[in-house]
Symmetry: D2
Subunit: 360 residues, 4 copies
């Protein structure tokens, strides 16, 4: 193994730099191998200066930093490129150009760090002759093939810290506090941080909630003397009964205004006579220095990816399974998305400690 490439694709996740650093250090220290960095996901292959050598000096000090020194891209399809032709925008297929560019680099391996989308294209490239090794990046923890990936633990700590802070201020003021957290399709961040932070209500995409139940939970707590309620809400949480609902105050139909689900829940509670405040954490959850666990896992992934490549195993993804780093076929890893098991031990635990999912 003489030369490998590395790129990062998709959304940001704390730990990307730690993977890159481990790839560079392991490849150089253990295999004496040259490493090329590719800028902005697959785009770098077709970009001037989009491919450049990565040495020890380039990765110095990046371990504790969020973001990615390689840049990334978050568009759907790296093969599709918009060009202007005769004054009109047109989409052209650049897949052949990318494949050719990669082959011209004579890479012994291409380490692709990315989510579902990015890894699917890695698999396609493998089919077209590129020796790819995948590293899963999923801050939402929704890739089936790995128990957990880097970034998730950092997001949990940030979300849990926010819930902690809301607790003290909610306690003093007798309010409902809604915090909208990441998770469009999978509720892991909200479930874990909701339990860790001691939220009272958790709304996740996997368990459709009822507007009335949510308001009733808050009012029941009030009647029992708990004068505040913390609601942790995934951005992808969905009401079972649609957006329209009856206002608690009377019969009037209530149609929440546009806006994130966090704000909608807040507005519904206010209309039900409950003073409410809303926090939308947003991208704060994706940035900043990775937690110790995320750096440790990311470093192991990066190192393992180099070893898998050195063994000549391609079209595979490194993964954490049963507490160990191993690897598995790329498509097996990403074929089925991972979701919160609505009847599993975690949800059972949450219900046991008194948390409502708004579905009763």
């Amino acid at each position: 193994m003489k030369r490998i490439g590395v790129l990062t694709g998709g959304g940001d996740a704390p730990g990307l730099n730690a993977v890159i650093r481990a790839v560079v250090k392991t490849a150089k220290n253990d295999y004496g191998c040259e490493v090329l960095g590719i800028r902005d996901s697959y785009d770098g292959f077709l970009m001037p200066d989009g491919v450049f050598p990565l040495g020890h000096r380039d990765v110095r000090g990046i371990l504790p930093r969020g973001g990615t020194i390689l840049g990334t891209a978050n568009r759907g399809n790296p093969y599709a490129r918009k060009v202007m032709r005769d004054g009109k925008e047109e989409v052209v297929d650049v897949s052949n150009d990318i494949i050719k560019a990669i082959k011209d680099l004579k890479l012994d391996a291409l380490v692709v760090i990315g989510g579902d989308g990015t890894l699917r294209f890695a698999h396609d490239m493998f089919l077209r002759g590129v020796p790819v090794v995948g590293v899963p990046k999923t801050i939402d923890n929704d890739i089936h093939g790995t128990e957990v990936s880097f970034g998730f633990d950092t997001a949990l700590n940030i979300a849990t810290d926010a819930i902690d802070r809301l607790h003290t201020t909610a306690e003093s003021h007798q309010r409902a506090m809604v915090v909208e957290l990441m998770g469009r399709d999978a509720g892991f961040i909200t479930l874990h941080s909701g339990v860790a932070g001691g939220a009272d209500v958790i709304l996740i995409p996997e368990i459709p909630f009822k507007w009335e139940t949510v308001a009733r939970k808050v009012l029941e707590r009030r009647e029992r003397g708990s004068l505040f309620t913390i609601l942790a809400v995934s951005e992808g949480a969905k009401p079972a009964d649609g957006d329209a609902s009856y206002n608690r105050a009377g019969d009037e139909m209530y149609v929440p205004r546009l806006g994130g689900i966090g704000q909608k829940v807040g507005e519904f509670l206010e209309r039900s006579g409950i003073e409410t405040r809303v926090t939308v954490l947003g991208h704060v959850q994706r940035g900043g220095t990775p937690s110790a666990f995320d750096r440790w896992l990311a470093t192991r992934y990066g190192s393992a990816a180099v070893r898998v490549a050195a063994q000549g195993h391609f079209d595979r993804m490194v993964t954490l399974m049963n507490g160990r780093i191993t690897d598995m076929p790329l498509m097996d890893a990403i074929a089925i998305p991972k979701r919160v098991d609505v009847n599993g031990e975690a949800v059972l635990t949450a219900r046991g400690v008194g948390i409502s999912f708004g579905d009763e």
Copy 2:
């Protein structure tokens, strides 16, 4: 001095418990004085069990905790109480009841920890014979009579940490990031944390902004190769030119939808062709463990309030002036609200390091 009371009023601020603890410990240790806690601001005086003895044991372990063990109230007027009379809600004046209840307790001093509103009523009570000493609580730093109060530093650290985290993810993705921070009338939190976090644009109530300027700043940065922009926006930031504006893309009139100003700025940027994400930190800024500075200042305030009371000085507020703890007449302290000096050294510094206030 044989018996003093202590209460907390208004919004939450990290450090309230540290003041209460210092009042209790100093009164007992240095003056052998009994301390009574009053629940839920002035409401406790008319509440069953609303007044109760506070001992060393009650304040054990509360130093690092956010919130207030006394509870608080955040309504406008403690003298006004809603009652039901003949099936109708009526507002009655309970000021005489409160004053009588206080006098019946035979307090040698009443330490009132609160903001502008709470302290005004403390002054009124003094005029009616209650020996009050005030402790300023202003997370927004908008009380004229003190250089700074507790809670502000904690809010700054939380806001700055959020901006730090947005930086790394904005860098990776070439986006604008809007973070809405506390500050309805005073922009100190946004100004200080914006400078400390390295924001590119800061919008505060004291400096009305122009929609076009804000968008232009983001685009100019893009043209100069800085592919992201962080905008720190006070919840009270206001456009100079009203809510309506022209969309950058064309001539079409743009009227931002309802919602916080952070979201409006985000929507305007999106319409101007700039991919944008919005974070609304909300009450996360008011809760949680106070910073070291806030605990230190809060402890000094609580101690000083007891000493001022022991000297028989009332209708005064403890304050931090010229780096020292001192005290001044209550009404002098709160008569004029404090605002960011738009031509002062701090704003000058911010502009010097390249920050735009959206007013050029």
Copy 3:
């Protein structure tokens, strides 16, 4: 199941309160069961007021708090008690008294949260008729039967944060920085935080180090232009060649003075002409608010322990195996202590990213 007891034994670990809270809430919510708290590990059974009812109110707000509301004890043998007899201290066996006290309480289950030592006595009690369920507590991660337990992740974050901070100051000053971390017999904390923090040298109990190699590594880094070195040292790290060694400066025999191994390493480096500073983190690693992961795991453990008890399964320990909460026979879980696999993937990864274990 009508009545269960819960106690915490051994050293402190962030997450103990989260386990207690989950036991109380799950037992009450899901099984309508009474919960008794036992003070100071097994000592509470023989103490006045050492056993007391635990309700929802008692566990309110304890989720984010370090320590244990039940207290603990860290002596070797709970059965042995020192008494004064005829003016002389004598050790008497109180095991029968403890067993009798437990039986008199008519517990349907006793949840024992503790490490190796505490759990061995739980097993003994089972043999004498007490229906015990164990919850593993091991901040050092050295219990074979579980992939990880609560407290470890928090310790990692604290240790990694300390290493991060040493980095910046070491960089500015061209020094070696030694940080002594927890781990008398197992080096997991030092290994994981050393990798996560980017330490250059890691010394752990499982890999005896050579004095000369450690000094050489620092000097080699200096020659290559890296003007600082971070050394993460387990408190149980041991030199392969004994405490005596040659000073680099000459032939003179060097015998490090008494003191922790961190200080010894520091003194050796200083004598080798390397300016060095030493940090001893100590119990800072065991205290404070648990990380999100630790609260999440602790809550699941507490909940699972109640479910195991409700199924009438005793002499078992709840555990995290293959990423899932399950349970196994107590003695199987603790029979073999867990140690860092010196030839395993984790050490291989650490070496790959350029870390020395001082053994070359």
Copy 4:
């Protein structure tokens, strides 16, 4: 003003990079001025590549980073240089070379960021014709001319967080916990963080302590039912009665072994029959990301230094006085070191909340 230089000297302090960044940005944005960075304090003037242009790009992203991108030096005398002459080490005076090198650079101003020592040489250089402006750097807060400088607040937060963590573990285990903090001559860090963290005993250089009193305090607390004691000890704390003392257990003379004062206090307590653990925070207090306050202050200092230089005022130091940024003659600022006022309001407050200084 066409060209200015900037250097950092002395020990590390979080916020150095924020000053450098503000100097560069303000000089370029507001004055169109070139900025030269000098490496490793004054040493850079005589070093190959020791002086180099600093642009916007060089200071990008350094605001949240500890350390200094310019490097520093912490030797006593920058004018003295060791050289080998005839096989012997000799110290030569290079002051003329440095002054000449500076003059050859034709700097309109040299911004010197440093402590007492570094600033004294800046004054000397001014006397020899160099247009210097000083920025105070004192993590210990011991420069008379400024209320506070950057780095101090960060150190306080780190120290306070450590004390918080020790609290929970001390509570669970009935121990004394000693934490040794920075402060060789001035006890501000220990005093402020001790009060903020709720320490029970604070030992600082300004108030010599008695061994017996320290042990008595711990035992008194124990008798009153507080089963733990936290002792915050400055590295420069000194016993009033010398290192020798009587052991509590009997008449035997106790002479603490060598080691830091934290360890000595720990050993004395152990010998007095009190189980004790010792933490030595060390350089962890000087590193890592600066707090919001420190970044804010550092930015204002850097900006102000450029403005002072632009006005042609030299031999002056920027300072925070009475809550405002101003400037004063360099030698006035550093002539008298600042120490804790042993009869001042801060110590009075600490005693009022029940803290012992070991001097009763």
